[in-house]
Symmetry: C2
Subunit: 346 residues, 2 copies
Amino acid sequence: MKKKTTIYDIAKKLNITAATVSRALNGNSKISEATRKLVAETAKEMNYEQNKLAQALKSGKSYNVGVIVPRIDSNFFASIIRGIEEELYPQGYHVIICQTHDQEALETGNINSLLNAQVDGILMSVSNAKGDSDTSFNALLKKNVPLIFFDRKKEIKGISSVTIDDFKGAYEATKHLIDQGYRRIAHLSNDRSLLIFKNRYLGYRQAILDSGLEFDENLVIETHSKVLEGRKTMKKLLNFENRPDAIFSASDFTALGAIQEIKAHGLKIPEDISVVGFSNEPFTRFMELSITSVDQSPIEMGRLAAQVFLEEVNNDKRIKSEKQVVLTPELIIRKSSLKSQILDKA
Amino acid sequence: MKKKTTIYDIAKKLNITAATVSRALNGNSKISEATRKLVAETAKEMNYEQNKLAQALKSGKSYNVGVIVPRIDSNFFASIIRGIEEELYPQGYHVIICQTHDQEALETGNINSLLNAQVDGILMSVSNAKGDSDTSFNALLKKNVPLIFFDRKKEIKGISSVTIDDFKGAYEATKHLIDQGYRRIAHLSNDRSLLIFKNRYLGYRQAILDSGLEFDENLVIETHSKVLEGRKTMKKLLNFENRPDAIFSASDFTALGAIQEIKAHGLKIPEDISVVGFSNEPFTRFMELSITSVDQSPIEMGRLAAQVFLEEVNNDKRIKSEKQVVLTPELIIRKSSLKSQILDKA
DNA sequence: CTGTTAGCGCGTTCAT
DNA sequence: ATGAACGCGCTAACAG
């Protein structure tokens, strides 16, 4: 590494003090316009760049925030991250992205590493790892490092969150199926220790009850958000003696798997069985048989999470304001659930 | 922030010096086993955690590396990043991910921010932004900050890279189409100032020439890696008086768009028109009409890029060894290009 | 084996 | 308006 120029170098050249240089560069009020200009010029001349590490060490702020997600290769999380970036970059922050791959060890490991890296805060979507990572969260709280949950939250006192109304999204999706005339609606669920899946389950259930239909717990199957898992689960459902005529899936990926399996059995969608997913992943729109899904406005979610973080970090540290932002989901109706021909333009 | 415990705190408690504590913690050879143990214990007791910032300031190493990609919401780049992580995490590095969204300003901006953040190196896939960001690259070189290109490289002396043999991938894809009996093969290209697209074009061209077919430049159309762009371009091609009977697309996304458009025109795939994409994005496998594509083993690519970085950073700084790793692509044949019924199990 | 000292680069008193 | 001096937390050089 070529030696970087420091404020000392430029101080020496100007026969002034490093302190003065620092002040000049930072816009201190009581510095003569002359030296300010002089310093600025020579700084540029010498290709001076502030060493953020030193500044961070001094100020205690690294201007790095950690973002922890289960994985980045879904449009949903990638979009959230984009939203976070859009909000944070202009404020001079950097984003360190970590993936948990739903593994407990990685989750707590990532938190610790980020803390070690002196991040100014952590925005995260909790994984569905089983163990009790709550201890990590509490450690964070004790250190007063801002922690914001988005999408997949845990209910911990004092931690702000940005989520969507999963109950409502599920309710409307299910209601839509009922309105289309479907009567035996199955639900591809997921780990309901995670609030989002619990709420999607509850929304689904309530819609059925409100419509006076019979609620059949056997039609609720817990699976994982993977295409192949969706296929497997659908296979089971198709073997029921009284098989469902519609599927509300808590995930677009399992919805896709279900569709594949349904077709493989020679059944028609949506005539024989209707399918609705969740998250509005791009492929739901691009499939020849486009898939009805619930949009979660992930970019907006990311932006809001970032805003909450900025508030917490800028406000007086002593005021710990817990903030719960809840977004409204939007049902996007497509071919996989609509018997008539009127579709959205997508 | 609660005051963190430092090595001074634990030194005071033990009536020894901070230096000793530091040594004990870092496994210095000449420290008594007794104190080493004692220090370790009290460190744990007091919840001591090393301040990486201070260490970084001291050592000049931040143990952060920057990864710059056009975007993260494609499986290809996400997988590369995963490969990089797998290789770098065990070495204690963190990964700061930046997206350029193919914008020149963001590309140079990201580089500068990363440098400011004192990253130990940058792994990047260049965007197809037009401007001359070469100056940024050269600035990097001058500072001796390791820079490694993956996938989308620029040919700059002294910069290592990990790529795949795009020429070969394109050649084999095109050859496959020819072997299937197709004769008028169009190519959906992309910005050929990027080597990957230039080479895919050249591979396509060579395969045609080698087969004794007529090469028709009119069948090469430059577009962008988006589904809708693929549709638009395909629309044009379908209006040719002598329309193509096969498409080799440099992108899976444009291939998908092309397929949509072909179907919209009531034509059959692969009977009337055959389609091959590039990158082996997951959706190519999941479509009902699965899409033939060229796999680029992105995880492997990421791992290799990380390995090259580690070599550069660990080796003697004075030896600037430029390393060019080239991976071999693999053609994955699926329904969209195969007239017979023998498919891969996918 | 361990203490002393010094410095990484910066911002911030406290003087002047 | 500016200089001198100190400290953020850690490690390395030099003692002893």
